[in-house]
Symmetry: D3
Subunit: 189 residues, 6 copies
């Protein structure tokens, strides 16, 4: 009954351009498996390259947010968009990065009740507005972040991560992208 | 940073009426721990008794739905209500009853993309209408179930389970009821 | 053109288990007629028993809310769920308990404009959040009640009544439960 | 605790221009009391004149809809807008015109469950789309009416009545217009 | 591919009653073309007369709002209702009255980001509540206007204009009323 | 009263990395002015590069959609997100590419009433689901496109454009990005 990785064609590794295959092999070496998003997006090499360049620019950079906090934003906003791939795959990454086996499910179900700090709740409240009602964001929402010590670059980061996954959730939902079975258990130990 | 079991007072086992303490000790003997919903609702013994009598009448009865399917209804509708306790605790029960480590997260995030049968998707589509827009349910929605082989008693069961957890989700959300840590990992093996 | 009491089978009084028939006869003796909810739910005796045990535990108990206020919660939240049976039957009970022929229609249409106290408006604002957006309830909503003098047990009562009728409204909507004609005029005199 | 007729100033009869006072006295002679909408809108004589000219053009004209059906549209759409004045005043008129003491409450709570014909349900389904999501109306919605025998002029009538009360509900909600106590009981006998 | 002026019959000028034809000829003389709303509504002469009497009473009167501000209310609320005719025709009038070629598009897309004063934003925030959630308006919303210097008569004006165009937007959406091509470029110079 | 290009710092051309400055100078040479999105995003060079690489991969490629149709998707979905920059800037591009001075305003206000083909309406209906309710997209939505002759690669294109501008709209809304005055009039002639 399991559905395939994507509704769209998925190229084999050897059909892929060299740079894409190399990137995927590096991920595989590190993670022990190939996350399906790499395979599904390889259908469109130029979009693949831009997608992961953008992803890395937002998720791997230094700054005021920890890597775990960045993943919290992904999990909370992806849950609002009911995106299988992102909630389950990034839930795993969040558990690993936060070294906390409970946090991903808590943030996915309802961040308001999660065991996180008031500052992190303010961050997620803002991120969810970016995800769900971006049209209403104004000075008031920025100030609510400032009160918790977030600076201008942090505001950009939170907004840009929520925005990038607004795109990513839509690609995954339309392509019916399937998360790898490995993600479900990762970081729960 | 972990919040307590409930926003309201939680009685100790020995403060509880005998019948309630006995019920709880039986659950503990079977599960290996006391699910927090029993402790949180013991604050109101009469409501506790009615709640679990109702719960058992719906979840433990024979009928056209399997026990795993009943739990799917709980997980899908509780996720729509963003209820920590019910998604996480009943997610565990669903994994155990379906003997499937992936299904609970799939149903919680987006049942439309879960590895379940078309009949089960129709069941959850109906259950979510009961949960979210009960005012619009009419002949058309009943017929959609009939087409998948559900009989009149099944319709009642699906509706009553969704309705009971509409209540349960609200009690858990207002009381800020905390799922036991044990639930997160249960049935994932 | 009148539709029947319920979409599901309705047992005759003599088909019912003794305890259920007895309870119904007592209600009939007091009210002068049998409210249809008793007949409709008798289709499932165990659920009937749990339902009314729960109902009585919430609606007949002593506490900080008057019986009329409890009925206001029922009418306001049932109207949000567009539940025929509950708005019309409990509207009648509200008129009787409040000794006020206008109040039920006012609360059903828009509690914000009803002739009730600011404290009662705060109670209904909270009850409607429980009914409609239970996921957002947190400290802030509890404090808004505290400012109007509601204590911890009152908060539980308001939430539990709104939650119980969240269930009841869904059962009545799915079963297409018909309010007795008697309710429409009751308490209007 | 009763609030006044309107949040805005209400002129006395003798302060009013002659034509407005005359119109009001005629209504009073016929109804036995002055419906508050006449007093509240007299604050702006030009708007008063246009409002009632429009109202009469839509509600008193001949055509494919009965007068009771026109009032059903008013009650159903005004309930969606939670408008005290219109639901309660036009509920009374609907009871009188339909010679049916139950129908107004049924239509106000949930027209889908009311004792009305399938044709009338189609009419109200369309009227509620006009009231709530006018942006989506297209050929498909018009055809659904045609299937029930409504002609082009009927479509205009249904839409125009729903549109006029979209305005009226907003005026009444902002001015906090109070329905006369007389309306609550009218036509219930 | 261009659709006609209206889904309903449109009378020729000489079929129209004299007063309506005269009014239309006056508008044509002034504007250089006949705005389609006049032709479309002429299908129903009594409604035509009431509509324009009401329109003029609200849009041409003196008071605390400038004519450009009245048009801002029309554009912002008509955009929320996705009304072609009103956004495009009144967008043109707004550009002309404000002598500002950018303002209409800004207000139509998102008034929160438009180059208007805080007082005008408060006016539009209120107008949009009247348009979209009239049921929640109470003292708090009125006070928000008072803080920006709006008086009681201004509150009525804002509400009445938003209410009138709630009606107008619905008529235009159902009749599929087509804005004249002339409006698109008017006032952009 | 005009607000600045962005809420965040905007680098001068000479502060920018060479590749970014070069790209911007090329755009300026072609368009006659620098669209503000280039200046605003230059605050983050890596994100700038990924953003425009992604944009070009979707908007400049060959395929089953015309360039004007791609811009229709941008305008319709950006209007749903109330994004000033995207509606106004891409509205201009749409007018130019479609050689049609009316189409952008029509699509922005309500695509259902625009002078476009049924195939284009189906495309925009799908794009708006991707933008607004991506969680519900399944076989049924794909088939609706297939019926209008869209192939698998077209489905990806529509979805990816709607997804990319879901991101872009959020970045522009949070940064309060200001469209250049030049866009308002472009292509209207």
């Amino acid at each position: 009954m399991n559905h395939p990785i994507s509704r769209f064609p998925v190229p084999s590794l050897k059909e892929m351009p060299d740079d894409i295959r190399t990137r995927i092999e590096q991920v595989q070496a590190k993670a022990g498996f190939i996350p399906n998003v790499f395979l599904a997006l390889a259908h469109r090499p130029d979009e693949f390259r831009a997608f992961f360049a953008y992803h890395d620019a937002l998720m791997e950079k230094a700054g005021g947010l920890t890597k775990a906090e960045r993943e919290m934003i992904v999990v909370a906003t992806s849950s609002a968009n009911q995106c299988h791939y992102c909630v389950i795959a990034h839930g795993a990454i969040l558990r690993v990065r936060a070294k906390n086996p409970l946090i991903a499910d808590q943030v996915a179900v309802n961040y308001r009740k999660a065991d996180i700090t008031p500052r992190q709740k303010a961050m997620l409240e803002f991120a969810l507005k970016v995800a769900v009602t971006p049209n209403v964001i104004g000075e008031q929402e920025i100030e609510a972040l400032t009160l918790h010590g977030f600076g201008q670059e942090d505001v950009w980061d939170i907004a840009a991560i929520a925005a990038f996954f607004a795109m990513s959730n839509r690609l995954a939902n339309v392509s019916d992208m399937r998360p790898n079975d490995e993600f479900y258990l990762l970081g729960r130990g």
